[in-house]
């Protein structure tokens, strides 16, 4: 965990769980595995609060516990890692993806599980049904069976998984929580859950009261058949989906819509047969692809072959040919696609920060690996003085490295080759840390802006509350306008500007997270293949 990651994790914990959890969490991040007594002693927080914070962290999967390293009988040790906490940035994207794939019901299921961390299936279904009922018109309510079927579909496609069974006895070597691959991971328990969602009304009519009483009795009895089986969101599956989306949209941008549909079909066909860490999909024959294309795309067979040839010849190497049988065997090169996407990101960063000519030098060095200064000037077709300036700027920002190749053992400057080079993987790591720092700065700035205008925000919130209560009690329009005028016009402008700034900062966080996802995927994919 780098300093930037720890700082960002601290801010995310503070915003979502409060300052106490932030203190405990950052202490665990900086200090490694510790037992309860050490945490209490070093953070100075009371036992009760530390226990609660650890509960919250474990519930949300950010912290794991195991028996101490000093042997049996030593106190339990708790350990946190950054990755899980940094996922919080991506929650809106997960919820939105669930909405596009499974509609409002799926969206609410994912949102509930993200908010609670771990939850039983029956609890989730009830809460989601209530929320959906809330938004429907009077007299209509959402049936539990509909929500259940959406839940089943989410588990079938592995977007949800069971929480790993608690086996805190044996110490694990890995610092990060192990990916659950236990056999019952995706098995849905048999749950008896009959009913409809409840509406939260101040004045309840007879039917709702009867339902409420029945719900109370149910919860008192407490048997839905799935006690102790908690579910959590499977982030890895979402990441695979995002990766596929990135590849498809890259193909659509580079080539055209039809090519992206072909690649989408290929990825869909190999969803279940490809392991998450594979570098490319299993080979698919052109005949199979032709049969699986969506019927709305009436592409004749020869045209499909032409498209596949185009895809293979493209320098981005999204699709590769793996054989000739069955009309040609084709694979999607996932690792190479990710590497190319990361490379495009790096080039775009250099271009936006230093200008297009520096970007030209950067791309040149990426392609040609090692070049002397004179060669850089020649190939990039930039005058010597400016090329030297740009190279030195890139060097000082650590985007370009210098490799010395001596002719003599004494490294005399006149007898040494100095070659400029760009290493994609270390540069990607460096930019990833820059991204974390960016998001942390955005969060801090947003908190600062809110704090600056706290008085104004409080006033406007009070006015809103007065307005709401007056409207609820049926006041005349003159009273309402009188209350509304309590905020002056310049204050309204200030509030509007504040809202704009905060929305901009929030939106920027979301978009930096997209870059973070690309770079992280590339780094993880490279680490697992090498």
């Amino acid at each position: 965990m780098t300093a930037q990651e720890v700082r960002l994790c601290g801010l995310l914990l503070r915003e979502h769980f409060g300052e106490v959890v932030e203190k405990v969490g950052t202490h665990l991040l900086k200090g490694g595995a510790q037992n309860l007594r050490t945490i209490i002693h070093e953070t100075g927080i009371s036992l009760d609060l530390v226990k609660k914070s650890l509960c919250v962290l474990v519930q949300h999967g950010a912290c794991v516990f195991r028996s101490g390293r000093k042997g049996a009988g030593s106190p339990t040790e708790y350990q946190t890692c950054c990755d899980r906490i940094l996922r919080i940035l991506r929650y809106p994207r997960y919820i939105y993806t669930a909405k596009t794939l499974y509609g409002d019901t799926g969206e609410l299921i994912i949102e509930e599980l993200l908010q609670r961390g771990h939850m039983t299936m029956s609890g989730t279904i009830k809460t989601v049904a209530d929320r959906l009922t809330q938004n429907m018109e009077e007299g209509r309510s959402m049936d539990y069976s509909e929500v259940s079927s959406a839940f089943f579909r989410l588990v079938e496609t592995h977007f949800l998984q069971r929480c790993p069974p608690l086996a805190g006895a044996e110490p694990k070597d890995s610092a990060t929580p192990a990916a659950p691959s236990f056999p019952d991971c995706y098995k849905v328990p048999h749950v008896t859950l009959v009913g409809r969602g409840k509406r939260q009304l101040a004045s309840e009519d007879g039917e709702d009261q009867r339902n409420a009483k029945k719900a109370k009795m149910d919860s008192q009895v407490g048997t839905h058949g799935d006690e102790g089986i908690c579910w959590q969101v499977n982030f890895e599956r979402f990441h695979l989906h995002f990766r596929d989306q990135a590849i498809i949209s890259a193909v659509a941008n580079k080539l055209d819509q039809t090519s992206s549909e072909i690649v989408r079909t290929m990825l869909r066909m190999s969803e279940v047969t490809t392991s998450p860490t594979a570098t490319c999909t299993k080979p698919l024959s052109a005949n199979e692809i032709f049969r699986s294309l969506p019927t709305s795309y009436n592409i004749p067979r020869p045209i499909l072959d032409q498209y596949l040839t185009l895809l293979i010849d493209d320098p981005m190497e999204f699709v590769g040919k793996a054989g000739e049988s069955g009309g040609g065997m084709y694979v999607v090169n996932m690792h190479r696609a990710l590497a190319n996407l990361a490379r495009a990101t790096l080039e775009s960063v250099v271009q936006e920060r230093f200008g297009s000519r520096s970007a030209r030098i950067f791309r040149l060095l990426l392609r040609k690996r090692h070049l002397e200064q004179k060669q850089v000037e020649d190939f990039a077709m930039i005058p010597a003085k400016e090329a030297k300036d740009m190279l030195y700027t890139l060097l000082s920002q650590n985007l370009v490295q210098l490799q010395e190749i001596p002719k003599t053992p004494d490294y005399a400057p006149s007898r040494t080759f100095y070659l400029y080079t760009v290493n994609q993987l270390p540069t990607a790591r460096m930019l990833l840390q820059n991204c974390y720092k960016t998001v942390a700065n955005l969060v801090e700035r947003r908190l600062f802006e809110s704090k600056e205008s706290k008085r104004l925000l409080e006033k406007s919130q009070r006015i809103e509350a007065i307005l709401a209560s007056l409207q609820a009690s049926g006041a005349e329009p003159e009273q309402l306008t009188e209350v509304e005028e309590m905020i002056t016009a310049p204050e309204k402008q200030q509030l509007e500007a504040l809202r704009l700034h905060i929305n901009k900062l929030d939106s920027a966080e979301n978009q930096v997270d997209e870059t973070i996802f690309l770079l992280e995927s590339y780094i993880n994919s490279t680490a697992s293949t090498s």
Partner: protein, 199 residues
């Protein structure tokens, strides 16, 4: 005035020039007229953020999520230790030698509308920020149930660690509750003992 050479010795400095290393004929850096800027000058301006329906929806999701988290029990207040367990949720945590079981039962559903208007959502988020400051827990009930539930709840929270004037803050208005009285209750009590005159 004795130190100024006028037209002859223009470059007079308080330190000896040779000792620092500036030889004759070297060009000095330009003299500083104002403090250095706070941030380095940007040669290229950054691109604008992509703005579209999807981005706006993601933004709304993010802000709503943050607001909702503040009202959940996993948002731990520093003052929560004094209250002990609240009445609306139980979170039992039993630790045995080899296994940790924790049961988490929720009896409240939190209030969340998907189809908010932007601005209304924004103020609700602030609402919850401030309610957290005023009360600490179970704040979402206030918005749902209305005044009666609010009064009952505040009577329950009798720990008194936040000594605030209950009367004044009940409706989150600026006005003390007695402001809204219309005087009907005045003078209705002691009509029997007319010993003292009423002024």
């Amino acid at each position: 005035m004795a130190g100024r050479g006028g037209g002859r010795g223009r470059r007079m400095m308080t330190f000896s020039v040779e000792a620092v290393g500036i030889t004759r004929g070297d060009s000095l850096p330009p003299s500083i007229q104002q403090p250095t800027p706070l941030f380095p000058v940007m040669e290229q301006k950054p691109l604008p953020l992509t703005a579209g329906e999807e981005e706006e929806y993601l933004l709304a999701l993010k802000q709503e999520f943050r607001g909702a988290m503040k009202s959940l029990p996993c948002f731990i207040q520093p003052t929560a230790a004094h209250r002990g367990q609240s009445s609306t949720h139980t979170h039992t945590h039993t630790h045995t030698q080899t296994s940790l079981t924790y049961t988490h039962t929720q009896t409240h559903t939190h209030f969340s509308f998907r189809f908010y208007y932007y601005y209304y959502y924004f103020t609700c988020f602030l609402c919850q920020t401030l309610q957290k400051k005023e009360e600490g827990q179970s704040s979402e009930d206030e918005e749902e149930e209305g005044e009666e539930k609010k009064k009952k709840q505040e009577e329950e929270e009798a720990e008194g660690e936040e000594e605030y004037d209950e009367e004044e803050f009940e409706e989150e208005t600026d006005y003390v509750m007695s402001y809204f009285d219309n005087g009907e209750e005045f003078g209705g009590d002691s009509d029997d003992n007319m010993d003292e005159a009423i002024y």
